[in-house]
């Protein structure tokens, strides 16, 4: 595992120019990185959970998503193993469950 190399690669993808270079020739860009073969495979497969398990930072994974035209909500759905529709339904159900826990000002606790 190359914790630093993997995150360095993802961090460097934060600029539009770097993402364009990656899109134009992913194989060359990847070959130049300090990554293990397993990490390169995770990047190429857009295996977002696998990347997270390998130490990729939560806030840098979306840079790879942008380079591969995968939106942040779509990354989330893929991490959950859901389609966009299933993800929307999961959120709707969760919202129903969590809403009653709200504490709004008129009912808020004042010391």
């Amino acid at each position: 595992m190359s914790y630093y190399g993997l995150n360095r690669f993802l961090y460097d993808l934060r600029t539009v120019e770097a993402r364009a270079a990656y899109q134009a020739d992913p194989a060359s860009v990847l070959a130049a990185q300090d990554l293990t073969d397993a990490e390169r495979a995770l990047v190429e497969a857009l295996d977002f959970n696998g990347l997270a398990d390998a130490g990729a930072n939560t806030y840098l994974i979306p840079n790879l998503g942008k380079a591969a035209d995968v939106s942040f909500p779509e990354i989330g759905a893929r991490m959950r193993g859901e389609t966009a529709e299933q993800w929307a339904e999961s959120m709707r159900r969760q919202n129903e469950r969590i809403a009653p826990f709200a504490l709004h000002p008129e009912e808020a606790v004042h010391g």
């Binding site: 914790y3 630093y4 995150n7 360095r8 961090y11 934060r14 959970n49 997270a52 930072n57 939560t58 806030y59 840098l60 994974i61 990354i75 989330g76 759905a77 991490m79 959950r80 193993g81 993800w87 999961s90 959120m91 969760q94 919202n95 469950r97 969590i98 809403a99 826990f101 709200a102 504490l103 709004h104 000002p105 808020a108 606790v109 004042h110 010391g111």
Partner: protein, 279 residues
């Protein structure tokens, strides 16, 4: 002498800025949260602190793995904007207060990385326009590393807050400070639990902030990660703020669980403050 007039806790999820930009502040799904931010904003206008000490975390925008401070304090005159969508001017600093806090805290064993240049990201820039829309109050930014291993323990964050609180109180001239913690509450942005919120834990945490600071510093980072969610660990900033306050009481609490985040806005005031505060 310096004085902490209030502690404030606010979420900093970028979804808040997106909802605001989309004109959804009066949407019933968002209004309770924006009303809470506005309550804090009006309170600050009434109480007119001389400075805000803002305890936040960076999101791999300003501090990357090449060199990542555990605790950083910005002592510059202004702090540039990093990784934020809205066009915001740099945030004004308070060099004198910041240097005093850095010096006193380091003397007390909290070894801040002292930054004359420190860009600030969503951790500051999502909530700040909602509680100070005209950059009226100078800011001392304190960044806690919660996104790179190894991370400071909740107990260590509480101790950092205690040192910051003592430093503020030892400021030689009159100085009224509000300590603002940003982040939280529960959320997870990675893995099969992406998007999950833990409202039972969030309510418990708010109770602990109000009544049981010893329970806050007893958490391990692993427990926070399990209970508040992978990204919810940023509540250590609230824990640091609670450490700075000492004896205090909650004066305002809004909890708004919605979609992917347990949003919260809360105020605390020193217990010896007899006036009913507006913050």
């Amino acid at each position: 002498m310096g004085e902490i007039i209030a502690g404030i806790g606010v979420s900093h999820a970028p979804s808040i800025a997106s909802a605001r930009a989309a004109g959804q502040t009066d949407d019933p799904a968002w209004k309770p949260l924006f009303d809470a931010f506005d309550h804090v904003r009006r309170g600050l206008l009434d109480e007119r602190p001389d400075a805000l000490v803002v305890i936040y975390n960076d999101h791999a925008e300003e501090f990357f793995l090449d060199r990542c401070p555990t605790f950083a304090i910005g002592v510059g005159e202004r702090f540039p904007v990093r990784g934020h969508d809205e066009p915001l001017p740099p945030v004004p600093g308070h060099r004198e207060l910041a240097m005093h806090i850095a010096t006193a805290a380091i003397d007390a064993g909290i070894d801040f990385t002292v930054c004359h240049e420190q860009g600030v990201d969503d951790g500051v820039l999502v909530p700040l326009p909602l509680i100070d829309d005209e950059w009226q109050f100078p800011v001392v930014p304190i960044c806690v590393n919660v996104v790179w291993e190894p991370r400071p323990s909740p107990a260590r964050c509480f101790a950092m807050g205690e040192a910051v609180g003592a430093a503020i109180r030892s400021f030689p001239d009159p100085m009224r400070v509000a300590v603002v913690a940003t982040g939280g509450l529960s959320h997870t942005l990675v893995g099969p639990g992406f998007g999950s919120v833990q409202p039972e834990w969030d309510r418990r945490f708010l109770r602990q902030m109000a009544e049981a600071p010893d329970e806050l510093r007893a958490y391990t980072m692993a427990e926070l990660e399990q209970q508040a969610g992978h990204e919810g660990v940023e509540v250590v900033q609230w824990i640091a703020m609670r450490g700075a306050l000492g004896a205090c009481r909650p004066t305002y609490t809004c909890y708004h669980p919605y979609r992917m985040t347990g949003y919260a806005v809360a105020s605390y005031h020193p217990s010896n403050d007899h006036e009913v505060s507006k913050v």
